[in-house]
Each structure stands twice: as structure tokens, then as C-alpha cells.
């Protein structure tokens, strides 16, 4: 995995709260057996008409969304299923971070393991971001701060081990495998 230290990018806003994983990628696309190429199915039911043509008024289909790498959404993003296809689809589309006041547990964990930053901010920052689509933000993983275009910055929480792995381009799996001796001892002790 590539180390991630800082993301400087433009936002796109989908203001809805409680965006569930069935919206991020509908279940009918889960018959895939690979993790590649899911970006075209991201938000499929909002992005396309039934005939596959784009919904012109959906934000990701509008010219101002081009190049945006930070998704700003309403409260409780990523609720619902455990499908890792959700962060895979967001990453494949080109997103590198999601910003909300609340991000669902399983989605958050899945995102961290794939290098998609789940950034939880306070209500005031969130309101500002929701009202300023296209804002250029800096997300600094090293200092755990998100900086707005006016220079104001706010701290965000992030699980320390996941942050360590992301900063150094490490895979959490390597650490887990280094504990195999402990796992064997644990099994032996239980009989």
C-alpha cells in the first residue's frame, strides 16, 4: 500500500444523512468476484436512469464534481451492510476521503484497511462543508487536522494503529501475522 500523509483536494457534497451501503453500491452488483472496476457502479441508482443514461442533475454527473477527491456527506454515512465493495467503489471512482459527523462502524473499518480516509468532524465544520461544495481542503493525517480554505483547521479522531499503517504504507495483515505465535499459544492453552 502507498503511504498516505496528506490529501489536498476539492470536495463534492451529497448532503443526505444515513447514506447506506445499498446506495453506495446496490446489491445486484455484488455478484462480482474481483474488487476492481466498481467505480462505475458507485451510487448507481442515483447516477443513472434505468436505461443506463446519466441522471443529469445528480451531483457526480455535473462538471463541477470533476476532480473532486473528497466526499462530504450528511450524518451516519455507510450504514447497513458489511460489503467492502462500498469503499472499493468509492476508491475506484477516485475518492480518497469521506467527511461526515458520523461514519458507521463496519464501513469505517473497511475504509481504513483500503486507504480511504473516514474523517469525522464536528457539526459546525460539517455544516460549513455541506454549504461550500467544491472547497479545497487539506487533510493532514500526520497532524490529524483538516484545514478549510480560509485557514481554519480542526482536529479529527482516527484509530492510532490504522493511522500508523496508513502513514507508513503498511498492511494491518503484516502485524496480525506477526502474532501467529501468540495465536498458537492461545490455542494450545485452551486445549
Amino acid at each position: 500500500m502507498q503511504p498516505i500523509k496528506r490529501i489536498t483536494a476539492k470536495t463534492v457534497v451529497i448532503a443526505s444523512s444515513d447514506i447506506d451501503t445499498d446506495q453506495i453500491i446496490p446489491a445486484r452488483f455484488l455478484t462480482t468476484t474481483t474488487r476492481e472496476g466498481l467505480g462505475k457502479q458507485l451510487f448507481a441508482d442515483w447516477r443513472y436512469h434505468s436505461d443506463g443514461s446519466p441522471q443529469a442533475d445528480f451531483v457526480l454527473n455535473r462538471p463541477e464534481a470533476r476532480g473532486a477527491e473528497i466526499l462530504v456527506t450528511g450524518r451516519n454515512f455507510g450504514c447497513g451492510s458489511s460489503r467492502e465493495h462500498a469503499p472499493w467503489a468509492l476508491l475506484d471512482y477516485g475518492f480518497r476521503a469521506v467527511v461526515s459527523t458520523e461514519i458507521a462502524d463496519i464501513f469505517r473499518g473497511n475504509s481504513l484497511m483500503n486507504g480511504l480516509l473516514p474523517i469525522v468532524v464536528d457539526e459546525q465544520t460539517s455544516q460549513w462543508l455541506l454549504q461550500h461544495p467544491g472547497a479545497l481542503l487539506e487533510i493532514d493525517l500526520e497532524s490529524r487536522r483538516l484545514t478549510l480554505p480560509n485557514g481554519a483547521s480542526t482536529a479529527f479522531p482516527i484509530e492510532p494503529f490504522a493511522r500508523h499503517c496508513l502513514l507508513n504504507g503498511l498492511d494491518e495483515f503484516g502485524y496480525l501475522r506477526s502474532k501467529l505465535n501468540d495465536i498458537e499459544r492461545f490455542e494450545a492453552a485452551r486445549g
Partner: protein, 466 residues
Amino acid sequence: MPARTLFDKVWAAHEVVAETPDTPAVLYVDLHLAHEVTTPQAFSMLRSLGLRVRRPDRTLATMDHSTPTHTEQVFGSVPIKVDAAARQVRQLEQNAAEFGIELFGMRDARRGIVHIISPELGCTQPGMTIVCGDSHTSTHGAFGALAFGIGTTQVGHVFATQALLQRKPKSFAVNIEGQLSAGVSAKDLILSIIGKIGVSGGTGHVLEYRGSTIRSLSMEERMTVCNMSIEAGARAGMIGPDEVTFEYLNGKPRAPQGQAWDAAVAHWRTLATDSEARFDASVDIDAAAIEPMITYGTNPGMVLPIGSAIPDKKGDAVFDKAMRYMGFHGGEGMLGKPVNVVFIGSCTNGRLEDLQAAAQILKGRKVAPGVHLLIVPGSQQIKQQAEAAGLGEIFKAAGADWRESGCSMCLGMNGDTVAPGQYSISTSNRNFEGRQGKGARTLLVSPMTAAASAVTGRIADPRELL
């Protein structure tokens, strides 16, 4: 030792390496359930790293999400219609063979929805840690197991090590006292809990359902409650094991037998939350006040008693969007609204007692003209039991479409879908936009309410038909 909750005890017993401020715990996994949708990429990862499944004896695979439910597709010569689904099923067969995992395949008499077959085989047991690449793994918490859904990367981690990196969540007591009224089921109970704490009320927590109401529920009802913990944002929900639990498990094929059984029960009795234990959060629920519940919006927290009117929250963006999608308006009553499809099944409500509850209403009645009633048993064993008890005949006589087991119409990825704009009265767990098919409008209810609505052709209060 300080007083501990059930969750604290199960967690501590599986901590291979304790968590520190810098590192998560290494948590041992007793049972890993695998299915066709969330494992292909994990098996590919193993293959690319030259790894094997470390403990195939603690791994169980079946196919449920993308499998068809038409008898001629499961047992006959008619192929699976969706090519990608057929490929996924074949790939699980190949992966299970290559990595030496036990698989309950398409025509196995023990196949079914993963969260239904593991308990009915006795694989799910108190005090275990259980994971699966599926958020409804919370179902197994009904036995006093710590059970939660994981993503595919972690499925790979568990395959390779039989352990997971995990931070310990907080604890949340859901105290429920009083008796459920006639016509009110475990589904109505969990829907009303979600309505009360909200779809993110349990985020970061493990719920423990407690109190006299829970003690009076059967194992199947407890599974319905724990199943939807994730719909309140909680990864897991647990219930302390008791005589009802032991009675259910006794004699199940994979439960401990003989002396091992006695030793297991003695251990399971120690798991209950200590009387002085403290929870990080709690809520109190009055079971006697609960009525049959129904959702009116596009998440399970948008729920109300069936006789109530939709609240008028015009101006609230989530509410307005949900009303547009559902074709409803604030202030409207739910009773009497039209119904196109009724689905009885899923890991929430696809067990024998659910089918019995539906049959109680369907017996001697007919499905209303123009309504499609789809009844899908949660497993092939349940199908057999239902047939033996005469339920299959009742369903067919009523005009229902009685199928083979699987996730079916809970999520439209196996050919069973609801057409755009149609209203589906469903015993499943998610009323998200498009969940049952693009444009499908889902209303979550109990099996009794589903059956009552099927015969009435309108949203109906099951208490009128009991």
C-alpha cells in the same frame, strides 16, 4: 474481579493479545461463517500470498445470497439465470474444495441462509466469537455469542490466522420488561427499539438485550431481535444464555454431546452479566406498550405503530426524500394502503416459528387478487419441517409462491426482485432505497402483519385477523 457484562467475559476469553493505546487487540475467532458474495476476493488474497485457510475445522461455508429460490433452478436442470451469480456459486465450490472447507452446497439438505443454518446445526454456541462477511452475523448473539460482521479484507485475515485486529466496543443495555400483546412479535419489538434509539444509536456499542421480556422469548424470537442490532448501528447484540438456550441446543448435531455437554452447560452458566456490572449506555423499553410496527420511510428507524399516521416532518431533508421515494405524505395513515408484493423470509424472519405465525393467518384464506405472496424458508431443513407440519399445503392453498431457501427478495441479487414503484410488505431487515430492486418500495413488518396484508391486499393490522 470487578463485575463484568456478558460481552466483557466473552471478549476477555478471546483476547490473544490485549489492546494498547497504539494497537488493537488480537481477538480469536471460534467460528468463521463464509458465503459466496464476500469471500471470492479473500480467497484470491490467500492464493496470491501462497497461504492456506489456517483452521478449516472452524470454518463453515454455504451459499445463500445469490442463489435462486425456484425449485427447478436449485434441483432441476434450469440454470441460474444471472451469469455472474452462477459464476460466484461455482467459485465458492472451487474455493471450498481447494482450501478444504466444509461447504453446504446448492443441493445439500442442510443448505440455507448462513445465519439460520449455523444455529440449527448447533454450530452457534454460547460464549463463542463468531464472524462472517455479513452484517447480520449479529443474529448469533441470541446464544450469548459475540458475533459481528466483517469486510472481505478481514475475512482474509481470519482465513489466514483465525484471529482479527479489533478495538473493544462499548456496552449498551437494552432493558425490556413486560409482556408482548397478542399479535405483537419479536420483530415488532426490535423495530420499536430501533425507532427509539435510531439507526445510529448503537454505533460503537455492543447491545445486550435484557429483562423479563427477553427471558420469555424463544430462541427463534431472540434471533430475530439480535439480527437487527446492526440496523441500530450496533455491530453486535447479545442475550445471556439460559435454560431456553440450552434446551434449544441440546441434541443439535454439532452441539457438544454426553459429558462434554454437561461441561459446556456448566461453563455457559457462568457467562451471564454479573448483577453489579455497569454498562456504558442503556435504554428502557416497555414491551406491553408495543403494537404491530411498520416502516414508512427508507431506513428501519422510520417506523411507527401500524395504526398511526406518518409524522409530518416536511422540511426535513431525509424525511422529504424518503416520502418522495415511497410516494407517501406526512399525516397519512398506513392502514389500508395498497400492497403489490408480500415477502415472508430472510435471516430475520425465515424460521419455522415465523412460517407458523404466517400460516395461522393464511389458513383457510386466499391471497388477495393482484398480490404476489412469496414465502421463502430460511433453510432446506425449515422447508422440510414446514412441509411435515402441513404449512406448505396451507401456503399453496392460499395462493402463495412457496420456494426453496435463500436470502431471496431481502436483497435483489438472486433474481427475486420487486418492480420499480411497487409496494413490498416484507419481513426482511432493510427498507433502503433499491434494496429489493431498483425503485422498489419496501415496508418492514412482522410475519403476521405480512400475512394479514397479503390476504387483505392492503396494509392490515394482524390483530383483526387472529
